[in-house]
């Protein structure tokens, strides 16, 4: 801390405030992690099955993140106040100051608050874990904590009586912890940690009812698809780490290529483009991970299947928070993508193209879904496409803002769907079969749904309008006219599929469960809480060839019935075993209403300054822009030098705050001097943009964020967008009334009569045949022929070789044994034996056993001996 004070003195003007919550932001993630452990070990013994731990930890987390958000606002404001002085001070440095003067307003770079402990070390470098507080992370942390809390409250009632109630809350809490860990990551490794923990929780929660093969299959598919993308995460991290290593070692000692700030600085330093293809490869690889996680085309297929999980899971993980992890990653180390894909100069980036394709592809698929959750799932995919499109075209702020608003209204929509199935359609999600006319029975849910739908479709003044249209507007403003039209087309489609879903659910004649009719299999469900996933294996796994999926419904129902007739909990849902639709209870409606309120109002966190041309309101209303968007300001680096945080780390410090001193490397080793400001849209005399991200920062200074430009909306564009949305409403409304309401003969059965219509319908119904490609060909090929072949090689070639060698040696041995050992060596031995034996046989006759004979022999022999002796002696 001493060093920090010193450097602050050097900076003089830049004394930013901090605070307990900002510095201890890690608590926000640690508390849910402890909550998870408590649920795991003591949950079963608690009166509410451990959910109290989950709720308490999320509430505590919300307190921490709210406090941090408050303190961040103060920090930014303090930067602004001091900014005036800084401005004066900076003039003496004479660097980049003129621009700041033109802008008239000084906006220094607001340093993130970093708290880190040594987590691991390798090759002499130490890597940290801890919390990293800047505008983006604080915003999302608060969002995650808030939505997690609401969803947990919702779940209290929604999954009550579930056979794995405790595990459900454990996984949900662990998920929140993982997401918070990821969002507050100050380095890539911690980010990967949170990223994968979320993947694990996603797996556990999708497969929550794993007795059903469909559910476990979906869980596997989700984990596996995301994991395919994660190859990119590992590779990309490695590439960036090593590509930036030298530059960072030289310019930012004490930091490594894992640190977010270091990566940002490196990417904009000019060294990155000098390093050749490395940054492009790294950025592409990282984006592949985002494709997997954020359900972008063509790896989006897992997301609709992920709806096999309970609805709160779909609401929390698979729409509002986890799936935006990819978007978060791109926005977190945005400079890398900015530089790699040349977004500064209007390059057509990989990200933008994928985003645009995803918008349209997913929105089209949303049309042919009968399952309300799948409509929302494809809608999520499509909205994520908007965010990616924004990021890919330089519209960083609207994309992040869209993450923020989308979380509210999409979460709300899912909870509405859950509420409908809970109380309205008897655990079914089939819009065609079990819904219709529910607006009378469920007014609160209906109201929230309508508000959120309007927000999603981008109707003024709901939240989606402010964020989504801002994306589209900025895309156009940054020179991507075609992509802007794609975005507008997507808005049209959005309006249409939401109208269709709304009509099928809330209007028209009540059908099936909504009309109080229960299917034959219902008593199986009545005793136990369970969601029916509409299309079980039959539709989802098989190629759809005929127009009507009706036959598979009964199969799916029968399939589900098998599992649930044996064990049940009679205590649950006694209140609606045999009655029609009704409104859900307070625990369900309150979160929905809160979210709907935010869907209505959250857009005003950053409303586009509509009245700007008239000079009535300035940029001050754009709070997200002010507080979240990092300032694109070059910052001086002065290496204090000599201070290495490797010296006195160790366990003895524990949670002691003195650890901090070594952690915030940017404070400790560098003194950052706000170098003056470029107005974000500053243009040089020749019309070329200058500043961070456009020109290499001067020697001795670094940039952490590119100077993105912001579109100024005009009434013409707004009107165009709104007209498109209204046209969408009208078209879809008319279609629904004609097709579903009046059963217009010209439309009904069109897919059977018209080849083009049928082809299109089947193409969509089969989800562009991507699932077929993945599962029938790639997965099956790897899992069956390829692995079998490898194993065959193992058993027959490798092991065969070994066995062959063994056999050959054995045969050689046998041969040697038989021919050499037995015949030659042993032959000699045996030969001597034989000789002895034969001799013995020959002499056998002498052994008569007769004493006299023996005597004769003895004497004879003696006589002979005597004679010989005599003869010898005589001679």
């Amino acid at each position: 801390m001493l060093a920090a004070e010193v450097s602050n003195e050097v900076q003089g003007a830049l004394e930013l405030t901090s605070g307990f919550f900002l510095e201890n932001l890690w608590l926000a993630a640690l508390i849910p992690a402890i909550g998870f452990a408590l649920i795991l070990f003591f949950g079963k013994k608690m009166p509410n099955g451990g959910s109290e731990f989950g709720l308490a930890s999320m509430a505590a987390s919300l307190v921490v993140t709210s406090g941090a958000a408050w303190q961040w606002l103060a920090r930014v404001d303090s930067g602004k106040e001091k900014g005036e002085e800084a401005f004066g001070l900076l003039q003496t440095f004479g660097r980049s100051v003129p621009r700041a003067a033109e802008g008239g307003e000084v906006k220094p770079y607001i340093e993130p608050v970093i708290t880190e402990w040594v987590w691991w070390q390798n090759s002499g470098l130490e890597f940290g874990i801890g919390s990293f507080a800047d505008g983006l992370s604080v915003l999302l942390l608060w969002l995650v904590a808030f939505i997690s809390l609401l969803v947990q409250i919702f779940s209290l009632d929604y999954v009550r009586g579930d056979r794995r109630y405790t595990q459900f809350f454990a996984a949900l809490t662990l998920f929140s912890s993982g997401m918070l860990v990821m969002v507050m990551a100050g380095n890539m490794v911690q980010l990967i940690l949170g990223w994968e923990i979320m993947g694990l929780c996603s797996f556990m929660l999708i497969g929550h009812w794993w007795e059903d093969k469909y559910n476990s299959h979906s869980a596997l598919k989700a984990f596996f698809t995301v994991r395919v993308g994660d190859i990119g995460l590992l590779v990309g991290t490695a590439v960036i780490y090593f590509a930036s290593a030298d530059w960072i070692a030289e310019n930012l000692p004490g930091q490594s290529g894992f640190d977010i700030t270091a990566i940002q600085a490196w990417a904009l330093s000019g060294d990155s483009s000098a390093s050749g293809a490395a940054i492009i490869v790294g950025a592409s690889a990282l984006f592949i991970a985002c494709i997997g996680k954020s359900g972008q085309f063509p790896l989006h297929t897992w997301l609709p299947d992920a709806m096999a999980g309970p609805t709160p899971v779909s609401s929390l993980l698979h729409s509002s928070t986890m799936v935006v992890a990819g978007v978060f990653l791109v926005s977190r180390i945005y400079p890398v993508f900015w530089e790699a894909f040349n977004i500064a100069n209007g390059g057509l980036s990989f990200i933008a193209v994928i985003g645009a394709i995803t918008i349209v592809a997913a929105a089209l698929l949303a049309f042919v879904q009968d399952d309300i959750k799948k409509v929302l799932a494809y809608s999520t995919v499509s909205q994520l496409g908007y965010m990616m499109l924004g990021l890919g075209t330089g519209a960083w702020l609207p994309a992040v803002f869209h993450v923020f608003t989308h979380a509210f209204f999409k979460c709300c929509l899912f909870l509405c769907a859950g509420s409908i199935s809970h109380s309205g359609s008897h655990h079914s999600f089939d819009m065609k079969k079990d819904m219709g006319g529910l607006r009378k029975h469920m007014p609160v849910t209906f109201g929230a749904w309508i508000v959120s739908s309007l927000a999603l479709t981008g109707m003024i003044p709901f939240a989606g309008f402010w964020s989504k249209d801002e994306i589209v507007d900025n895309v156009g403003n940054n020179g991507y006219t075609f992509l802007m039209w794609v975005g507008l087309f997507g808005a049209l489609l959005t309006a249409m599929y939401m109208t269709r879903a709304t009509y099928l659910t809330f209007f028209g004649e009540p059908r099936g469960a909504a009309a109080g009719i229960h299917h034959d299999d219902d008593h199986g469900f009545a005793t136990e809480f369970h969601e029916t996933i509409l299309h079980a294996e039959d539709i989802d796994r098989e190629l759809v060839t005929a127009g009507a999926p009706a036959k598979s419904l009964s199969a799916a129902a029968a399939h589900s019935e098998d599992h649930h007739d044996d064990d049940g909990h009679d205590d649950h849902h006694g209140d609606h075993g045999d009655h029609g639709p009704h409104e859900s209870g307070k625990l369900i409606t309150v979160p929905i209403v809160i979210l709907a309120f935010l869907a209505l109002t959250s857009g005003f966190a950053n409303p586009t300054p509509l009245v700007h041309p008239f000079g009535v309101a300035g940029e001050s209303v754009e709070r997200i822009k002010t507080y979240v968007e990092p300032r694109a300001v070059p910052v001086d680096i002065e290496v204090v030098g000599g201070v290495s945080h490797a010296d006195d780390h160790g366990d003895d410090h524990g949670d002691d705050h003195s650890e901090e001193a070594l952690a915030p490397a940017s404070v400790d080793q560098l003194s950052l001097v706000g170098n003056g400001v470029l107005a974000a849209d500053a243009e040089g005399e020749d019309g070329k943009k200058e500043g961070c991200g456009f020109t290499t920062p001067a020697e001795g200074s670094v940039c952490f964020f590119p100077a993105v430009s912001h579109a100024v909306p005009t009434y013409g564009k707004i009107a165009l967008a709104l007209i498109i949305v209204l046209v969408g409403y009208a078209l879809a409304g008319a279609f629904c009334v004609a097709y579903y309401g009046r059963k217009d003969e010209r439309l009904v059965g069109l897919t059977e009569r018209n080849a083009v219509a049928r082809g299109g319908y089947l193409f969509l119904k089969n989800k562009y045949y991507l699932d077929i490609l993945y599962e029938r060909f790639i997965v099956r090929f790897v899992a069956h022929p390829l692995s079998k072949a490898a194993y065959w090689v193992n058993q027959n070639v490798l092991d065969g070789t070994v066995n062959k060698v063994g056999e050959t040696s054995k045969n050689t041995g046998t041969w040697i044994y038989n021919n050499i050992d037995q015949k030659v060596v042993d032959g000699a031995v045996n030969g001597s034996g034989t000789v002895a034996s034969e001799t013995g046989h020959g002499l056998q006759s002498t052994q008569s056993g007769k004493v006299n004979q023996y005597g004769a022999l003895i004497f004879g022999a003696a006589a002979v001996g005597a004679i010989v002796l005599v003869i010898l002696n005589v001679n």
Partner: protein
Amino acid sequence: MNNLTDSNWVLSLGTFLPLLGAVVIMFFTSKDDDQTPKVIGIVTAAATLAVGVYTLIQFDYDQADRLQFFVDAEWIEVISSGYTIGLDGISLPLYFLSMVVTLLVMIYTWDNMPDAGNPKAFYSLMLILQTGMAGSFIAQDLILFFVFFEVVLLPMYFMIGVWGGEQRKYASLKFFLYTMFGSAFMLVAFLALFFQAGDAAGGVESFGFAHLYEFGALIDRDVQVWIFAGMFLGFAVKVPMFPFHTWLPDAHTQAPTQGSVILAAILLKLGTYGFVRIALPMLPKGAEAWAPVIGILAVIGIIYGALGCLAQTDMKRLIAFSSVAHMGYVMLGISTLTEFGINAALYGMVAHGLITGMLFFVAGSVKHRYHTLEIKRLSGMLLQMPKMGWILGFAAMASLGLPGLAGFWGEFPAILSAYNPNEALSEELFRVLMVVAAVGTVLAAAYLLWLYQRTAFGEPGDEFKGQSEVEQGKHEGLAHSLSSAANDHGDHEVIKDVQRTEWIAWTPFLIAIVVFGVYPQLMFQVLDPAVTALVETINAGIKLP
């Protein structure tokens, strides 16, 4: 080398105490008495572990790069081989791990004696095995190392051959011959190294590691390459690396649970440890020449092992094949010849020991209950044995390299390090290897989760339905199953969830997997200085003219 501490007796004690226990069991217990050998075995192992803990406490962590508890006594003077032992940051985790694993395996055996019986022989063999393993990790002399290395072989041979499955004879013989085959080449390489280094040192001959580190590097490059080839064969068989791995699935499948656990947790590490401790620093130029080969074979092993896993129908065999893949990551890390990679490899060795050991434990217990490990027949384990099912899931997640669990810290830095191998190696080649190895992580997820889906999820098959304690408890709760419960009791033994001795044996594994996953610095701070010193030796050797 300096004697850093006075307590240099602890290593010898820690190594030979088990041998003493084995002698006691062999000569002072009767064959009919089943309990006494178990008690003596466990007490001895616990005492050994206590010595290990003392070692851990006495170890000077600030000097993890130097040999501690160093002893250099005369042993076989005729061949210039000494009783040289010592411990540094590289050996410490493995040395300690071997003690922990032996004790836990013995505790597990208390209630889970393999069918062939005879705890007297079993426990004495395990203790002898422990001496061999610990000795290999502390030896600082080639001959001493070789002796310990080979001591390990025999108990394992008997373990598989006596207490193994149906094809135990084939498996044990294969294991023995395969390893001996490698050892033969290794010994020749050791001797060649001894004489060549002696020449390079101007006639001063010694088998001591320190001597060979210094003078091995002076040997001509061509000669180094040949000597390395011999060592490569010896160690690669032990690791095992593709294509020398085929003994492993058979040995694992046939070995008793205890044998599998020790084999996976410690024995395989002797090979990789040999590479790190002996082959690389003593023959730096040989290592440089062989590194691409090792890297390629390692990556083939990763993909190939994973594909082999996908084809398996037997749970234990699948886990065995996964070892091939995981050891591939370890070898990939080693082949980069960088601090990053070798650190990762050493971390991966310990992590793999814990995780795969755990998986084998579970497989053994499943076999014990269901009398089969055929994946097709196992299903709905989570319903029948919820705790066992969760533990299997946990171990599977750890095995596929989930961050926050120990496996990640072996896998991720190893992949990372391949991007930037030693300056003397081809960057392009290793970058390709990195991508392929990263694909391997997906395949790992595939086979482990697929295994988990097939065995743990779903409903139990008809064959075992209703036989578990959990289900029967539920049936009785519903009060309609007096007859069926009686039926079940009559026909089959009840499938129980995790038992007490299993908990005792497994909990340390589970805790260690989490602790090393959450706070990797615990081990990296021990490894890193030693590895840095080692890589300096290697680099200096490579750069020699």
